[in-house]
């Protein structure tokens, strides 16, 4: 079957086509989708381009940040109101990939890709998903659980999260090739502290499971505790237990599990060292 390309300015029409045609796929930046077609995936027969302006809305002025799913990594990297997200955006691909890669696309990127989704997990983001019947708001963790079973006509339209306190959001990505390269692993963490006590931390891992995941064990080890070398060590000690990293061309599952605690320790000690 030859390829088709359909462009829509309105979401419901795009959603209807996606729901009806099993070979139709929504285009983000194309970095994963067009690659699959280039490499001979003939199950994809229709590119769906959605130009609905609401997918590009960027509201980062206040305490609640709302980002349209069509916003690119390079747009985020240069947004003055989102400097805490710049390290995440810049860790994804090279400059040309970032000019195309979107928030929405990154949420569906298979492990070991999907580092922006890791950040959204740690930020406690809500993912807005729209289809012909209406809109659902998924907490990020629930989104990743449901992601691969969503109805075919579902489209992520935006992500929303509370602006983190200065210095509370931490991120690192380990890759074999720097500055770009697919993740050996990535870690995002929200380490809010009140009077030195950690309050409801969120820690997320990328490339450590089928999707980005929260590290609840490590979070619980820190929650309500003073952030110290000792409490960090307790969290780090159990961090790998909840993970099931794959072995792929980038790294073995054994390697990922073995170095995860090392990198988590560094990230948390860096947070400790900063005056917040």
């Amino acid at each position: 079957m030859p390829l088709a390309y359909q462009s829509f300015s309105e979401l419901s029409a795009a959603a209807a086509l996606l729901g009806a045609d099993s070979g139709a796929r929504l285009l983000g930046g194309g970095t994963l989708l067009v690659r699959r077609v280039n490499e001979g995936d003939t199950s994809i027969d229709t590119y769906v381009r959605l130009r609905d302006p609401k997918l590009l809305l960027l509201d980062a002025a206040g305490e609640t940040v709302r980002l349209g799913a069509g916003i690119t990594m390079s747009r985020i990297a240069r947004e003055p109101a989102l400097t805490f997200l710049a390290p995440v955006a810049k860790a994804i691909g090279g400059p040309a990939v970032r000019a195309a890669a979107t928030i929405g696309g990154n949420l569906f990127a298979p492990s070991p890709y999907g580092d922006f989704g890791v950040a959204l997990l740690a930020l406690g983001a809500t993912i807005s998903v729209e289809n012909t019947r209406g809109t659902s708001e998924f907490p990020a963790e629930a989104f990743f659980d449901a992601r691969d079973d969503l109805d075919a006509g579902s489209i992520v339209t935006a992500v929303t999260f509370r602006r983190p306190a200065n210095g509370a959001f931490r991120f690192l990505k380990v890759s074999r090739v720097r500055p770009k390269g697919a993740a050996v692993l990535s870690i995002a963490a929200m380490v809010n502290r009140t009077n030195g006590i950690v309050v409801e931390p969120r820690i997320a891992f990328g490339a450590m499971a089928k999707t980005a995941i929260r590290a609840h064990g490590a979070e619980n080890a820190l929650n309500g505790m003073a952030l110290t070398a000792e409490s960090i060590e307790r969290a780090v000690g159990i961090a790998a237990e909840e993970t099931s990293p794959a072995t792929d061309a980038i790294a073995s599952g054994w390697y990922r599990k073995t170095v995860l605690p090392v990198h988590l320790r560094r990230l948390l000690l860096d947070a400790l060292a900063e005056e917040v």
Binding site: P2, L3, A4, Y5, S7, L27, G29, G30, T31, V34, R35, V37, N38, E39, Y47, R49, S74, K90, G93, G94, P95, A96, V97, A99, A100, R178, P179, K180
Partner: protein, 165 residues
């Protein structure tokens, strides 16, 4: 199968072709418009040899759909030298041994062009980051980095080996 028209500006010139739907910008530029300066190294967005500029932004033509580029301004290496004289980056690559097989060279030039237009005096780290999406299997990257830095310094070419910025 019905063909669709795509019209865009290529290196300042209005161009139009009829293509099969879903054709990539890479195929449009090479197979239809005869611009072979960009290369098809990997078709998966990893090697950067298809790097072109679309409305001033660096893009990988192998992952970009021609139908998404309607009415846009595309720039390739074919448009770098105007009036037959070389762009300073091209001269710098020549003077600094920044090419061996030459397959990565067009992609490197376009990535470097984008950098220098946004940041005329980049640091070495800036240059490395700007070229992060381009793979070279021959030179070990150092001569290419030196070539780009030499343009930013606006200085005479460096000697071929050993010296660092």
């Amino acid at each position: 199968m019905t063909k669709v028209p795509v019209q865009l500006t290529l290196n300042g010139e209005e161009r139009a072709e009829f293509i099969d739907s879903g054709t990539t910008l890479l195929r449009l530029l090479r197979d239809k418009m005869g611009d072979f300066t960009l290369k098809a190294g990997c078709l998966q967005g990893t090697c950067g040899t298809c790097t072109v500029l679309v409305d001033g932004e660096p893009r990988l033509a192998c992952l970009t759909l021609a139908e998404d580029c309607a009415a846009k301004a595309v720039e390739t290496v074919a448009g770098l030298s105007g009036n037959g004289s070389l762009h300073p980056l091209q001269q710098a690559f020549l003077d600094n041994f920044a090419a061996q097989c030459g397959f990565c060279t067009p992609g490197m030039l376009m990535a470097a062009k984008v950098l220098l237009e946004a940041n005329p005096h980049p640091s070495r780290a800036d240059v490395v980051e700007a070229l992060a999406g381009n793979i070279c299997r021959c030179t070990g990257y150092e001569p290419i980095i030196q070539a780009v830095l030499s343009v930013s310094r606006g200085s005479a070419p460096r000697a071929a080996s050993g010296e660092r910025a």
